[in-house]
């Protein structure tokens, strides 16, 4: 039998404890809702596709010891690539400056007309050759690949000047929402005299960072048919299936055999793509784990608080429980009393907590570009905290229900 009115009446005499627990529930709800939301957002990122066939792929970063002659660098790069592709454990290899999940790199504004003042969007710039798509395992969905003769070379300070480009399908969609991007002219370079023709469109291909200036940046990529003659270079290498370890070993050896005038970092000079992915999402995963720990700790503290305070109340009210039993309360009535009391405090707490949860989120929306908290999280949090409260109160409430009616006659 539910007896809300007298419970509320009695609660006014335990204001301090009641308010304390309600506040604790409110704060826990507010923080846990937002933490779960952050966890969901971060883990959702982890499962986004890179557009790259990640198994059997690895990355070598080679820095040149002698950076004085770009011409020599170009020759060296071509020799390196030839050597890599000849290895028995290697399926294909290509040069680049950057790749999906790298964590940063060269981005450019993309425009549709040379005199356009504002960019249409921005995109990751990936230097590539005719082997790049095969090496990445990324498919063309329209148009054609680069040919060997189209591959040029350029120095980092030069403006991009590429007559042909291949772009990712998301970028194509963004630039030409109405029709196909194939054969269209775009401006990748700031130089008004250097238009580029889109000769191919790849399937999904992720940019090297999560987001940039524009919200749709994440899957915008442009492949430039050139070797970038920088202080160092990146080689993407696809091992033959099951020969990843062997290929990584062979490739390093082959590169040093080509020239010892280079530095391949022992620690992260050679990385499997799995390692690249792990490094890229480390902070997301870390944040998700941290939020998870905070949530669990807060929930545990709240549960402990409820157990503690209710146990105290049961001890304090032994006599009155005995009196109630003497007056005809069953064990169930007493159990019910404490469960209902907790539910009422819980409802007060979650109402305040829900408001606080939304408030915290709105503040984060303005401060940290957070997304709006879905009300489903608040609803789940409310139910979870009410259940937690009922669970926590159960043991002390059961103890209360076993107070003997004879307690009523014991002198205080």
């Amino acid at each position: 039998m539910i007896q809300i009115k007298p419970i509320l009446a009695a609660m006014r005499h335990h204001k301090a404890g009641t308010v304390l627990i309600a506040l604790q529930i409110a704060l826990t709800l507010a923080i846990v809702c937002n933490a779960l939301f952050i966890i969901q957002q971060r883990t959702a990122r982890l499962s986004r596709p890179s557009g790259v066939e990640e198994s059997n792929l690895f990355v070598i970063r080679s820095d040149w010891a002698d950076k004085s002659d770009p011409q020599h660098t170009d020759i060296q790069m071509q020799a390196d690539l030839l050597a890599l592709r000849q290895l028995g454990s290697v399926q294909d290899a290509s040069p680049t400056n950057s790749f999906p999940l790298r964590g940063g790199g060269w981005d450019n504004f993309i425009k549709l007309a040379p005199d356009q003042v504002k960019m249409t969007t921005d995109a990751a710039i990936y230097f590539a050759d005719e082997h790049s798509l095969a090496t990445l395992g990324t498919k063309l969905i329209a148009g054609r690949n680069f040919t060997a003769s189209e591959i040029g070379s350029q120095k980092p300070r030069d403006r991009l000047s590429s007559a042909q480009v291949i772009i990712s399908k998301d970028l194509a969609q963004r630039l030409f929402p109405a029709g196909s991007a194939l054969g269209k002219t775009i401006y990748v370079s700031a130089d008004a005299n250097k238009p580029s023709t889109v000769i191919g469109i790849t399937d999904t291909l992720q940019a090297h960072m999560q987001s940039r200036r524009t919200p749709d940046y994440a899957y915008n990529a442009v492949l430039i048919p050139a070797r970038l003659l920088d202080d160092g270079t990146v080689y993407l290498v696809r091992a033959k299936p099951g020969q990843l370890a062997a290929a990584m070993h062979d490739a390093t050896k082959a590169l040093y055999a080509q020239s010892r005038m280079r530095i391949i970092d022992r620690k992260d000079g050679v990385m499997t793509f799995a390692q690249v992915r792990q490094r890229f999402y480390k902070s997301d995963l870390g944040m998700a784990i941290l939020m998870g720990i905070i949530s669990v700790v807060l929930l545990a503290i709240t549960a402990a608080g409820i157990v503690g305070l209710t146990s105290f109340w049961v001890g304090q009210r032994r006599k009155q429980i005995g009196v109630r039993r003497a007056l005809g309360a069953t064990r169930g009535d007493i159990l019910n009393y404490f469960l209902t009391e907790n539910l009422l405090i819980g409802i007060g707490g979650v109402l305040a907590g829900a408001v606080l949860a939304i408030g915290i989120n709105l503040w984060m929306v303005t401060q940290f570009e957070m997304a709006r908290l879905s009300l489903a999280y608040v609803a789940v949090g409310v139910v979870a905290l009410l259940l937690l409260g009922q669970g926590a109160v159960l043991a002390p409430a059961l103890r209360a229900s076993h107070v003997s009616p004879v307690e009523a006659t014991r002198s205080v």
């Binding site: 007298p6 109630r324 003497a326 006659t409 002198s411």
Partner: protein, 239 residues
């Protein structure tokens, strides 16, 4: 109404066994007003807690209103306490967090009574004990005598057939004790069975019958001439 035969109650601790009641026999008829007297520690409270189903006993038999109670489960015992028995304690035992009205309502709510009927009964019983104007007061705001009258109102509100009182005047001064006793006598006249523990001989004398407990056993004092004298005097003055 209340019949115990060869009843015993043992309190066991790791070291000792205390027989609070042994070979205890009593038969309280419907409508009787019985006063229970006896030295401290003789087992009066123990008798009352067993009579009121607050506690189980160790041996013997107890019939309450014709029912052998030892086979009843906890819920059935709660129901009997709630519907048939009214308790009055020495320490009043009002719930300090609830006002007078809510205190009296406690047993009625456990009975699942409708709000309108609860209110009616509460106001009637408060009227009865002369505290109708104090319904919104908290126990701490009342004198001892007033608190005990609220406790009596709480016991009365459920119209119990049996009223059990453990030294109801023990914490009150003589004046207040008299008024509480008069209230009990009224209630008795309306048909309730009353068993009252007291060690005030003057109050005991006003009951219809006295039961004396020594060392956990009922001692028959009807043979004792002194008792007859006291008893006669009081029935005389009262009549």
């Amino acid at each position: 109404m209340l019949k115990m035969t060869h009843l015993s109650k043992v309190y066991r601790t790791e070291v000792v066994e205390t027989y609070a009641l042994r070979d205890f026999n009593i038969d309280v008829k419907e409508g009787e007003f019985v006063a229970v007297t006896g030295p401290s520690g003789s087992g009066k409270t123990t008798f009352l807690t067993i009579a009121g189903l607050l506690e189980t006993f160790s041996g013997g038999e107890y019939h309450l209103d014709g029912i052998e109670v030892s086979n009843l489960n906890d819920n059935a015992r709660s129901k009997i306490r709630n519907e048939k028995i009214g308790f009055i304690f020495q320490a009043f035992n009002l719930i300090p967090d609830l006002n007078v009205f809510d205190n009296i309502e406690v047993p009625l709510r456990y009975r699942g009574m409708k709000a309108a009927e609860r209110k009616q009964r509460i106001m009637d019983s408060l009227e009865r004990v002369g505290l109708a104007s104090r319904a919104k007061h908290y126990p701490a705001e009342l004198s001892g005598g007033q608190q005990q009258r609220v406790a009596i109102a709480r016991a009365l509100a459920g119209s119990p057939r049996l009223l059990l009182a453990d030294e109801p005047t023990g914490n009150l001064d003589t004046q207040m004790a008299r008024s509480v006793l008069e209230l009990l006598e009224d209630i008795h006249r309306e048909g309730a069975t009353i068993v009252m523990v007291t060690h005030d001989p003057e109050l005991a004398a006003r009951a219809q019958r006295n039961v004396h407990i020594i060392d956990g056993q009922v001692v028959d004092l009807s043979e004792d001439p002194r008792f007859h004298v006291v008893h006669a005097e009081h029935t005389g003055t009262n009549a």
